[in-house]
Symmetry: C2
Subunit: 325 residues, 2 copies
């Protein structure tokens, strides 16, 4: 059990990463207004958030620029139109997916870009390409993280091998990504232990990106912070794919570092997030996401159930539990 002094103190090496536009963009195909993104940028600065993820660096060879909002692609100029020279303490991040990012061409040298951090998202079986992307990003002058997705399906032996490979790269942060929202805190603790051991060996940091299928995104993030994980992802109003993510408003309420301010988050939510929901953008905890989380499945069936405006939860459960795997 923790000492009371630890409950009241804070670790100054915690970094809060706002992933609202990036993970939330998966819900509305990245069609955010410029006012939304600009107000979010300002709210993050006021709230003391450390990083703001603007979206993906998706390959324009694979994705049609006319079918998505601009934050699917995160051109440097589009980011600059929001942040100018970004003379603030808030750093700028983008996500680059293994296999879906033309990183050699689309990521310019850091000296020409407002971006600070490239978050490389990978499955455990695509680590070699992730390594190439990390090396490319670091050589260009960026910070890099490696976000290992669908971690609730990874075997410990493969995870250890992957972290040992990543440890030898210039990557700054290893991320636990609970894509299916399937981890209980006690399982997270075991996984984190593996990550933290390799992080100590290679002098890296560890981060967590949680999903809320079991209403545990915040609880798992709190658990993670308590056991030495420093990089914590959150989104305003939990906006994100499927059941959404750890809520920024919960996370900043929990963190005790006085540099974090919760009031700008409330103001932003009141102005923008309520309107998004009223305009029919749907995300967040619901039974169908609980079900895929419980079964440790990708949420795609639940997302379709949501899109189809179905309410026959019991039938849906029968469908996914009787499906051949």
């Amino acid at each position: 059990m923790k000492e009371v002094s630890k409950l009241l103190d804070y670790r100054s090496d915690i970094k809060v990463v706002d992933a609202t536009v990036r993970d939330g963009g998966l819900v509305n195909d990245f069609y955010f207004t410029d006012e939304f993104v600009s107000d979010l940028y300002k709210a993050n600065i006021e709230a003391g958030v450390d990083y703001m993820e603007f979206g993906y660096k998706a390959s324009k060879k694979l994705f049609d620029v006319d079918k998505f909002g601009k934050w699917k692609f995160c051109n440097d100029d589009d980011i600059r139109s929001i942040v100018g020279e970004n003379n603030t303490d808030l750093k700028i991040a983008v996500m680059a997916d293994v296999g879906r990012c033309d990183y050699k061409n689309d990521i310019a040298p850091k000296s020409e870009s407002p971006i600070d951090l490239v978050r490389v998202a990978t499955y455990i079986h695509t680590i070699p390409e992730a390594v190439d992307m990390i090396e490319d990003a670091c050589k260009k002058g960026y910070q890099a993280s490696c976000n290992i997705m669908a971690i609730s399906n990874a075997r410990e032996s493969e995870l250890s091998a992957a972290l040992d490979i990543l440890g030898k790269t210039p990557v700054d942060v290893f991320y636990i990504v609970d894509s299916f929202g399937a981890l209980y805190p006690e399982q997270l603790e075991r996984l984190a232990d593996i990550y933290l051991n390799f992080a100590a060996k290679y002098n890296k940091k560890v981060g967590i990106h949680a999903h809320n299928n079991l209403q545990l995104a915040f609880a798992n993030t709190v658990e993670a912070a308590g056991i030495g994980i420093d990089w914590l992802d959150a989104t305003y109003s939990s906006m994100g794919r499927g059941a959404g993510n750890c809520a920024m408003e919960l996370l900043l309420g929990f963190l005790k570092n006085p540099k974090y301010e919760i009031y700008p988050v409330f103001k932003f939510i009141e102005k923008h997030m309520t309107a998004l929901k009223e305009n029919g953008v749907v995300w967040g905890y619901d039974l169908q996401y609980l079900m895929t989380g419980l079964l440790n499945q990708h949420p795609r069936t639940a997302i379709k159930f949501t899109k189809d405006a179905r309410k026959d939860y019991a039938n849906f459960y029968k469908e996914i539990i009787t499906e051949e795997v």
Copy 2:
């Protein structure tokens, strides 16, 4: 850290208590249809739930029977009209509030009643009356629990004194009641330690009743189960006052005892809970409840904000944070 074997095993002394009608009744003044309560009773039996709380034993001297549904009063006859002789494994509970229950007159001897368990709800400063109610209930032949409310405001020294008094009564279970939904798992762990020590000394069980202001009702219940708390309260769709409670569907998904079945819960929710919400009964996590939870306040201001259909979250936060305490 727990052993893997502990993560995969289960404790057969866990008891799941369905508090939907009792805590949910605080949202709709106990106006549930007979079909709702009867279907809930059947769903609980099918799901393997251990106790079903039917409502309060509220004093008819203090409360107008015409202004509330019948489960505010839980007449034995009303319960019998649902459960008959209740020849099932599901046990029947009611709640009796200190100061609001005419227990000497309104609670009949167990031999005349379908009720099995009387849950005495008290604040820490009204323990002497709670003791009298517990002794009355046990003398009449019931099991009894003592549910200490607003526990996030209790001082450890007073809590220890209270548990030492309660330990000497015939009460069966000490309950942690996080009325304000203000506890983080690491704080819960410290509180539980005090409870578990007195429970061991006096051969009692410990229970938890959580609220979801910080989206931690389920996480705290899981944490509680992991450290030796046996009695776990939950409600279907989290229905309960303010931000609601630990969701039954999450809890049964987590518990590994094969006697618990989640499918009847999904069926009940699909049939009844969705309809309740569509008919305008409002409960569950929202920003105003997060705010009172963060500030460790009674949710009454947030409940009023909800009833008034206000959406000016930022103003509300200013109101409650600047209020004199």
